[in-house]
């Protein structure tokens, strides 16, 4: 039987092989070779692509280079979503490597947040952690921590240091002995091609009778279409970190073991692959 802690490691060290290609309309002084990279599922595009930027800037003139942004099959990729979520949502049932197009011009102001420095990513990451703790513990745990603990969470993510990160994050995964779980579960459910970017609602991990709510219970409550078969067939998959967890899994367990470093469960509802 796999230890629960092994799940934490498997989630942290998940990687997606990716091929970055420069957009054909970008002006270059010589041909730009594609750049291959293993992307950490739990991180953010703008945090891990410094080498990609440097690689393409080498063949471009300074004046042609503005803020970098990424696109997949015409869809601008939101850097503030974790990489694993973006892949599961847009490309999980396509052949590897994941092909991402790199742009340096015509930043899509209406679609993407700006990311001029690492400070922006840190602010976003910490804001997500704070919101997750507001849901789990009425912000008590995060507010009791010192600034250096907050910094350690960020540095752990930035430098890919599992132990450093979890030394602090484990406190965010605890709950009072008299309770059986968190107050509410931090989660977001995503479906491609809807105007609404995600569904987020208040959901308790424990029922009034004391039973543990499951992933199936959550979906039935906030997104029933995800688990309703059409014509006797399931038209969609429910995916977290590239796998389909059993609907009977307790949501409290999922929250403790399969959340992203921002402490949210990011769940993708995607069409069933057609073989």
């Amino acid at each position: 039987m796999t230890d629960d802690k092994d799940v934490l490691r498997d989630v942290w060290f998940g990687r997606i092989p990716t091929c970055f290609t420069l957009y054909q309309d970008e002006i270059t002084e010589r041909e730009a070779e594609p750049y291959y990279l293993l992307l950490p599922r739990i991180s953010y595009l703008t945090l891990v692509t410094d080498k990609v930027k440097k690689h393409f800037q080498k063949v471009m003139r300074q004046e042609e280079v503005s803020e970098i942004w990424f696109e997949y099959e015409g869809t601008p990729l939101k850097w503030h979503y974790p990489i694993g979520l973006l892949f599961d949502l847009h490309a999980s049932n396509t052949a590897l490597p994941w092909s991402i197009t790199v742009h340096f011009k015509n930043f899509p102001e209406k679609d993407l947040l700006h990311c001029h420095s690492k400070d922006v990513i840190e602010a976003h990451f910490m804001a997500c952690i704070k919101e997750a703790d507001a849901l789990k513990h009425k912000s008590q745990v995060i507010n009791e921590m010192q600034k250096k603990d907050h910094k350690q969470l960020w540095m752990g993510l930035q430098n890919d240091k599992f132990e450093q990160f979890w030394a602090i994050n484990r406190k965010l995964m605890e709950y009072p002995p008299e309770d059986s779980g968190f107050r509410y579960i931090p989660f977001r459910i995503y479906q491609a091609a809807t105007e609404r970017p995600f569904i987020q609602k208040l959901f308790r991990p424990i029922a009034s009778g004391g039973q543990l709510h499951t992933l199936g219970d959550l979906l039935k409550d906030v997104c029933p279409s995800a688990i309703t078969p059409e014509d006797g067939e399931m038209k969609t998959q429910v995916m977290i970190h590239g796998i389909e967890p059993m609907l009977e899994t307790p949501i409290q367990w999922l929250s403790e073991h399969m959340s992203y470093p921002d402490n949210f469960l990011h769940i993708s509802i995607i069409p069933q692959p057609t073989d």
């Binding site: 939101k78 209406k110 602010a123 804001a127 609404r196 970017p197």
Partner: protein, 184 residues
């Protein structure tokens, strides 16, 4: 307020950031019932310093949305701002436009105060005034008004506190309206 879940309040206004107002500005908005024109005229330090040439007025279009945060269980102010030619303001420009009397607080922690975020219903970039301190300041407002037996409308009180930080000024008539509604 909990019924807010899937909707939001919205308001658009134009702000002129210079003494010299282009004369045709009022006419642009005559036909549009949704837009209210605010002429925010800044006091110039010394009239004698203004030379003969009129500076071009910078007109900024602000759009404000009030949403409810389930996570913090408070209202949250989202807004976006662009020049008339469509160019959106940068985060830096937004920080700089915060009124002088709030600058000190902003500089203590700009990244905890106003940042760019995705609008949870529209999916587009907006600026947000962070809600994590809302409960703190609203509880003192509510306790005081309870003690004095005054009627308060939560949203009006909240908006009158956070709005001015980002250029949204509430007319006093809202306060009158709030107390009148309570008497019905």
């Amino acid at each position: 307020m909990k019924d807010f879940a899937d909707g939001y309040l919205s308001k658009t206004h134009f702000q002129v950031t210079n003494r010299n107002v282009p004369p045709d500005l009022k006419e642009k908005n005559k036909d549009n019932i949704e837009q209210m024109l605010f002429m925010h005229v800044e006091e110039s330090l010394d009239d004698s310093q203004v030379d003969g040439v009129c500076a071009t007025a910078e007109v900024i279009r602000y759009e404000y949305h009030v949403l409810y945060s389930n996570s913090y269980q408070v209202p949250v102010l989202y807004f976006r701002a662009c020049f008339l030619d469509g160019r959106p303001l940068t985060l830096d420009e937004i920080w700089k436009s915060v009124h002088a009397c709030y600058q000190a607080r902003l500089l203590e922690g700009p990244w905890d105060t106003i940042t760019q975020q995705e609008h949870p219903l529209l999916g587009q970039p907006f600026f947000v005034l962070h809600p994590c301190r809302t409960n703190e300041f609203m509880s003192s407002v509510l306790i005081t008004s309870q003690k004095e037996n005054r009627c308060t409308n939560y949203i009006t009180s909240w908006l009158s506190i956070v709005g001015p930080v980002v250029g949204l000024n509430l007319s006093l008539s809202y306060a009158k309206l709030a107390s009148e509604q309570m008497l019905i």
